[in-house]
Amino acid sequence: MSLIGVITIFALAVFVGFEVISKVPPILHTPLMSGSNAISGITLIGALLSAGGERTTLTLILGLIAIICATINVVGGFLVTHRMLDKFRKRGD
């Protein structure tokens, strides 16, 4: 994809982010942080590509550590957010 293409996507995504997040109420700030944190573990995709593609031993090791770090971020992040949000259900919901 061309540079202007990716920059356009980037700029628009930032605005979408601002719009979507500014409506989150303070009581949900912690789950918002941990949930968005899990999404930032998207680097996992990059880690998979660099560990699974053409490689040398060095890039393989870097890729492996990156996969482990990013997976902890993703799996742990979504799970702990779920645990927290479960507590926010009203009594009797």
Partner: protein, 466 residues
């Protein structure tokens, strides 16, 4: 799977992230929102594994299994009170992944370039430098934040002479190393030099920040981890990384702004020195408290509570430290059973991360509609019979209303002093994080209930029952 198809699935994943984040804006839709986000992530991972670019699987599978096991273990075993440090830690892992991916891709590209393919373009080199810099700051900053919150390191800000100069020099050195990487991408050792300097910068930035400023730091690091992921997206020219990363970057920035506003401080002030640095005014403390502080007993408070019709509880970090939330919930239930209206007034920066108090109280099954924001609860204090402050200090300090003279001047506070009676549960008269005395403790309508938070509330419960 063809690249076009892969990109379509990435687009679906990105849409799921946006819809998921939107779901987080209401307690009723939040669980589903989080699930949608995780489905998006799963889709993106699966489609990547099926793409032609992946030629070998064993290492990937080992990595995914190991990471999942650690992630599940951490997420399930963590106590709710330890949530700030866990979120901090997860942030750090995201940052580390960005550093490593950008590094691995750089090495790969350089190897290819020496084999005859054209050298990397400017987009690639700039993005690589940005990933290394921001990712390393995120990782080390998060580790320090974790150490501080976990109590491995002192929560006090570490300050030294020439601190600002040192930080500026290291920051400039990191940017300089980044520029060097951009112009000589072939020398991969420069990338690791950049990562090293940026790591030092991450440590220096967070080490100088004290416990009560942690909500801002955690929110900021959250934003950085997103920006680092977006930068890695530019390295790989991968749209899902760019979209997801920038969403998170934006969300972190918004939270950071909310936190700064709630403290009436600028971000620069938090990062480059501020509260806790110097306590100019120790004078006046004695006069302020002398002969005016009224110490009370659980029995006396219980007596006043008998006639109360509306009670507002204001929790702070001290409640978390004393693990008093269960006792607070029991007190709430008891009062409600006797027809008393009970609500919670929660300051945006109470605790060690945005929304910290809400999570603790929600875990106790206190319905979220009782957890009121500052703007909602403040107008109700004049019609409140008793405000119970437990483990909070600076966020209820009336000195903040004065325009200047204290580190908290201008910070919006909870107007507990407007309630008929204020009960402050606290171990002693010691100042809060801002290091200033609190005239609330000496106010005519304030009763001080000295003691451990949990113990005091439990005694109050048994006194009220009698």
């Amino acid at each position: 799977m063809s690249e076009t198809l892969t990109n379509y699935v990435y687009l679906i994943a990105a849409i799921l992230f946006i819809v998921g984040l939107k779901g987080l804006s209401h307690p009723r839709t939040a669980v589903r929102g989080n699930l949608l986000g995780s489905v998006g992530m799963l889709l993106a991972v699966v489609v990547t594994l099926l793409s032609r670019q992946i030629v070998s699987y064993p290492v990937i599978i080992i990595g995914l299994l190991a990471g999942s096991a650690i992630g599940v273990l951490l997420a399930l075993r963590i106590q709710m009170t330890a949530m700030p440090q866990l979120v901090g830690l997860f942030n750090g892992f995201g940052g580390a992944a960005s550093v490593l991916v950008a590094g691995a891709v750089l090495i790969g590209v350089v190897n290819l370039a020496s084999a005859g393919t054209p050298p990397p373009d400017l987009q690639f080199t700039i993005a690589t430098a940005a990933s290394g810099l921001i990712g390393a700051v995120t990782f080390w900053g998060s580790l320090i934040a974790f150490a501080k919150l976990q109590g491995i390191m002192t929560e006090k800000p570490l300050r030294y002479t020439g601190e600002q100069v040192v930080k500026v020099i290291v920051a400039l050195a990191a940017v300089g190393a980044g520029i060097w990487v951009i112009f000589e991408p072939g020398r991969t050792e420069l990338y690791w030099l950049l990562v090293g300097i940026s790591s030092l910068l991450g440590v220096l930035l967070v080490i100088a920040i004290g416990g009560a400023d942690m909500p801002i730091v955690i929110a900021l690091l959250n934003s950085y981890s997103g920006i680092a992921a977006a930068a890695t997206g530019f390295v790989l020219n991968n749209i899902v990384l760019i979209i997801a990363g920038s969403l998170v970057g934006a969300s972190g920035i918004i939270l950071t702004r909310i936190m700064c506003k709630a403290m009436n401080r600028s971000l620069a002030n938090v990062l480059f020195g501020g509260v806790g640095a110097v306590v100019e005014q120790a004078e006046g403390e004695e006069d302020m408290y002398a002969g005016k502080v009224k110490s009370t007993s659980p029995e006396e408070v219980a007596l006043v509570l008998q006639t109360a019709r509306r009670v507002v509880i204001v929790p702070g970090y001290g409640m978390a430290v004393a693990r008093a939330q269960t006792a607070v919930r029991q007190l709430t239930e008891l009062l409600e059973k006797n027809g008393v209206e009970v609500e919670f007034g929660i300051h945006p920066v109470a605790g060690r991360m945005p929304g910290h108090m809400n999570v603790l109280l929600a875990e106790e099954n206190i319905p979220y509609d009782k957890l009121k924001e500052m703007d909602q609860i403040n107008p109700t204090f004049p019609s409140t019979d008793m405000a119970i402050v437990i483990g909070a200090n600076d966020v209820v300090n009336p000195l903040a209303r004065k325009a200047s003279g204290t580190p908290i001047a201008g910070m919006p506070i909870l107007d507990v002093d407007k309630a008929q009676t204020v009960v402050v549960i606290k171990r002693s008269l010691s100042p809060g994080f801002a290091g200033i005395p609190n005239p609330l403790f000496a106010a005519d309508n304030t009763l001080m209930l000295f003691g451990d938070g949990k113990d005091a509330v439990e005694k109050l419960i048994s006194a009220y029952k009698e």
